[in-house]
């Protein structure tokens, strides 16, 4: 399994682009918001956590459709599915998701503080957004893997993954943004929504790989 993790990482590192394009997309989304709402720094600071979260959400959804598709195109997916007896398929899927998160979502989390500065956010707010992204983006990857798995056989599954998954990640967005606001706005609490966010991530870490593995077994051809 460690071999699988290493292979996924070095593959996405070498094919390049993947992570970089995600970060660029994140940057572009955040950069167009001031053009839309105007360059009012106070307003930007106020909606900053929401912008960062929505940008990170879209950026991580966009890269998801290749999660299993690339393996299907080169034939690896058959072999990964065939090894069910040795490696529980849900666990194989789990490792693939974790590797995908490391290579595609972690760079977004790392880029978030920089973009927070551009949005004139306070340091504590930036720290809170980064922490919530770190805790919440795995949930997006885990539940998104279900969408990626069912659309694996479709030639253009990318948009469909987003359509299927966006309603399901609304709770992640709500608690992520709530916790981030809780850190900067006084009456709102930080810890309760953050803990719920962690709970959702753990919950999705279980049902996401299970459902994705079931989908890969069911719709394989």
């Amino acid at each position: 399994m460690w071999a699988l993790y290493r292979r996924e990482l070095s593959n996405s590192h070498r094919t390049g682009g993947g992570a970089l394009i995600g970060v660029l997309f994140f940057l572009a989304v955040v950069a167009v918001v001031p053009f839309g709402v105007g360059p009012d720094l106070n307003l930007l600071a106020r909606i900053g956590p929401a912008i960062l979260w929505i940008g990170a959400l879209l950026a991580s959804l966009l890269s998801l459709d290749r999660l299993f598709q690339a393996d299907r195109e080169d034939g690896s997916l058959d072999l990964l599915v065939l090894e069910q007896e040795q490696h529980w398929l849900a666990f194989t899927v789990f490792i693939k998701i974790v590797a995908h998160w490391t290579s595609h979502a972690l760079p977004l989390v790392i880029a978030a503080p920089l973009l927070g500065v551009l949005l004139n956010m306070e340091p504590i707010g930036i720290a809170a957004v980064t922490a919530t992204l770190l805790a919440g983006t795995p949930a997006i990857a885990f539940i998104g893997a279900v969408g990626a798995a069912v659309t694996t056989v479709l030639p253009r599954g990318g948009l469909l993954v987003s359509v299927l998954i966006l309603p399901l990640v609304i709770p992640v967005l709500i608690f992520g943004v709530s916790a981030a606001y809780g850190a900067v706005q006084d009456p709102d609490p930080f810890l309760p929504p953050f803990l719920i966010l962690l709970a959702i991530t753990l919950f999705f870490a279980v049902i996401g790989p299970l459902a994705a593995a079931a989908a890969l077994r069911q719709i394989g051809d």
């Binding site: 069912v150 659309t151 479709l154 469909l160 309603p167 709102d188 919950f203 049902i207 069911q218 719709i219």
Partner: protein, 251 residues
């Protein structure tokens, strides 16, 4: 004569759906008539119900809005049960049922949202508020539309059914989380100030017409559902016959 053997083979495969179709043929007219009678009685009762001293005539919208909202949720449960049927029991009709239910559920959900916003306009002074209930129902609509898109995108119906079944079940598990999170979000952003009907406190003169309407629309749903399932089975048969015709042309 291989084709003949294929055909008989396929016919035995379809034995179950064939029996289903003859059952549906007999049930559909009765269900339609029952729904029409119930809805006629329900509508009469609704219009003769006393006007609310606060809301006036607009309270009448409730008699169709609440059944629509109920059906939007019941229909997703039907899809989730059908999804279990597809994945666990591999029942041949389960995926037909799930596929047929999705557009009906989406329409009832849209109607629930539309009547809700018609009701809301005089109450809230605006067509749409991001109220916890409206938002949850809106998310439900998105889930219906996603399922329909997935069904359409798959060229192989059985593969599409299994994919949609998994997504439907994952969505079903998530509904409580979504509901909880939307409630949390709503109380955080705008304290509950909007008008709400709470079930137990509703006056009996309003409750009876509401019950009749809800049952009437539920029967109407099963009427539509049976018809849509029958149509879907026919559509699949046409597809199978076309494939056989294509193979004959080759031979």
């Amino acid at each position: 004569m291989q084709d003949a053997s294929i055909q008989t083979n396929r016919l035995t495969d379809l034995a179950n759906p064939t029996r289903f179709i003859s059952l549906a043929d007999r049930l559909v007219p009765w269900l339609g008539a029952l729904a029409a009678v119930l809805l006629a009685i329900g509508l009469y009762m609704s219009f003769s119900a006393p006007e609310d001293y606060q809301q006036g005539m607009t309270v009448q919208i409730m008699f169709i809005h609440v059944p629509f909202a109920w059906l939007s949720m019941m229909c997703y449960s039907v899809i989730a049960i059908s999804a279990l049927g597809t994945l666990v029991w591999r029942h041949p009709l389960a995926d037909v049922s799930a596929k047929a239910a999705a557009p009906i559920g989406a329409v009832f959900t849209i109607l629930a949202l539309a009547t809700g916003s018609l009701w809301g306009k005089p109450m809230w002074g605006t067509w749409w508020v991001w109220d916890a209930r409206l938002t949850s129902v809106f998310v439900l609509l998105l889930m219906y539309l996603g399922l329909m898109a997935l069904h359409r995108a798959m060229d192989d119906p059985s593969k599409g059914a299994r994919a949609a079944a998994i997504v439907a079940l994952v969505g079903f598990i998530n509904i409580p989380i979504i509901k909880f999170s939307v409630d949390w979000w709503n109380t955080l952003h705008q304290p509950a100030s909007v008008f709400r009907v709470d079930g137990p406190t509703i006056h009996p003169t309003l409750l009876w017409p509401l019950m009749v309407m809800a049952i009437g629309f539920t029967v109407l749903f099963f009427f539509f559902h049976l018809m849509a399932m029958r149509t879907e089975i026919w559509r699949r048969r046409v597809g199978a016959m076309r494939r056989i015709a294509a193979r004959r042309a080759d031979a």
